[in-house]
Amino acid sequence: MDTQTREDLLKLFQSKLNQAMRLYLETCSRCGTCTEACHVYASTGQVKHIAAYRHEIVRRIYKKYFKGQGKLASALGEPKELTELALEELYEAAYSCTGCRRCMVYCPHGIDTQMLMSIAKLLLVGANEEPEILSMLADSSIEKGKSLDLFKEGFLTAIKNLESQVVEKWQVEAGQNPIPMDQEGADLLYVALAGAHSIIPAAAIFNAAGENWTLSFFEAVNFGAFVGDPSRTKLILDRIINEAVRLKVKEVCICECGTAFRVMKQLSGKQPFKVSSITEVHARYLREGRIRLDKEKFKDPVTYHDPCQIARNAGVIDEPRYILQNLTHDFREMTDDVRYNWCCGGGGGLVALGEDTLDFRMKSAKVKVDQVQKTGAKILATACENCHTQLSNLNDHYQMGMNVQFLSSMIAEALVQ
C-alpha cells in the first residue's frame, strides 16, 4: 500500500472517531463474555468469529496510528500497520458480521461491534475493496433519485397494473384510488421495496384502515448503509426525506425492511414527519379498531422472528406481539427475552450478496434453525425482507418444513371486510 493511500484511509478512520467510537475502541477488557453471543461463533466455533476478535483488528490499527501513548494504550493489543493484508482481515471480519448487536447486549461495557465494523467497511470503501454488488446497488439507488422524471411514467403504469390485486384483497369505494401516488397533503407516505409483495398487502391494509396515504417513488432499502458509506447512505435517505417534505406528509412508514427502518428512524434527523415501521402502523390500526382480523385464518402454530434492526436495535417489540395475539390462537415465542434473540444470519448486506454468501449464511445460522425448530411452530413470520429471504434459504437448506411468511401478508390475508 502506498503512503498516499494509507494517509487517505487514515483520514477516513479519523472521520469515524467520535467520543462513543473512542470508548468502544478503548474499553474492551477481554472478559470474553461476548464469545458465545455471536451466532456465527456459536454455529461455527471459529475464533475469528468472536466479536472481540473482530474488533481487535480495528483496535490495533487504532493503537498504531491514533493512540500510541495514552494510558490505556497497553490495553489495546499490539499496534497493527494498515496494509493490504490488514484490509483483507478487515473484510473477513466486517462481512461475516451481520451487525445484529447481540454481542453488545452481553458486553459489560456495551461495546458496539456494528459501529466498530463500520470503520472497517469505510476503510474498504476508501480502498475500493468493498463488495462490488453493494456499491453497484447503492449507486443505482442514488441515480434513481437524480433521474426520477425518466422512469416516473413506466413506474406509474406498473403500479396501476397492481390495482386489481389490491382490490381483490380489500374492496375500495367507487372512484377511490387503490394505490395513490404523488398525493400532496396525504397523512402517510409508504416507502416499499421493488417487489409487488411489498406493495399489494400493504395497500389493502391502508385502504381497510381508511388511511390517507400515498406510495413513495423510491425503494426503502439503503445499500449505502450496508456498504458502510455515510455519504451514500445520506444521499439515498435524502431522496425519501425530500419526497416526504414535498408532499407535506405527517408520517413516513417504512415497509418490512429492517435496515431501511433503522436508518430512516435514527439517521434522518429532525424532520416535520414522524418515522414508523409498518408493524407499528398495523398495531395502531388494530388498537384503534380501524382493522379487524379473522383469528381462524391461520390454524397452524405461529412463531415470530424479530428482525434485529427492528427489535433489538430500534425497539419495535410489543407491536408484532399485539398483532399476533389478534391474528392467531397459537403464538409461540422463540426466546424469553427478545433482546437476546438470535440473528437470522442474513443482515449486514450478506443476503444482498446472494449466492456468494449462501454457504456461509447457512453454516453460520445453525443456532437460529435450532431455536426456530424448538418452538414446534409451523408458520415462521417475520417483518423484514432480508430476514424473510435468509429464513426461506435456511428453511430449504435444513429442510425445516416451515411456512415462512411476512407478518403484513398474514394481516392482509386475515382482514375482515
Binding site: S147, I159, G195, F217, A352
Partner: protein, 79 residues
C-alpha cells in the same frame, strides 16, 4: 420498431429485493458487448431500478413491455 434480437432470457419473477438487479448485473457480463438480455419480472420497482442501474453501469434499456402483470425489460450490453 424493429424486432429486438434477444441473446439471453432471464426469468426474475417473484425474486426478493435486491435479487433482480443483482442477477441482471451478473447476467450482463455473460453476454457479449452489443448483445441483448430480456429480463422478465413482476416487480413494479424494476421499471425504475433497471434504468437507474443501466445508467450507472453504462448499459442501455432498449424497450420495456408491460402486460398481464409481467414486465419485460430489454437491456443491451454497451460496454
Amino acid at each position: 420498431m424493429e424486432e429486438i434480437k434477444v441473446d439471453k432470457v432471464m426469468d426474475l419473477k417473484g425474486l426478493p429485493c435486491p435479487m433482480p438487479v443483482v442477477k441482471v448485473s451478473k447476467g450482463i457480463k455473460e453476454v457479449q458487448v452489443g448483445q441483448v438480455i430480456e429480463a422478465i419480472t413482476t416487480d413494479p420497482g424494476a421499471l425504475a431500478d433497471f434504468p437507474a442501474w443501466a445508467r450507472t453501469s453504462g448499459n442501455e434499456i432498449l424497450k420495456t413491455d408491460q402486460g398481464d402483470g409481467v414486465i419485460k425489460i430489454y437491456i443491451k450490453r454497451d460496454k
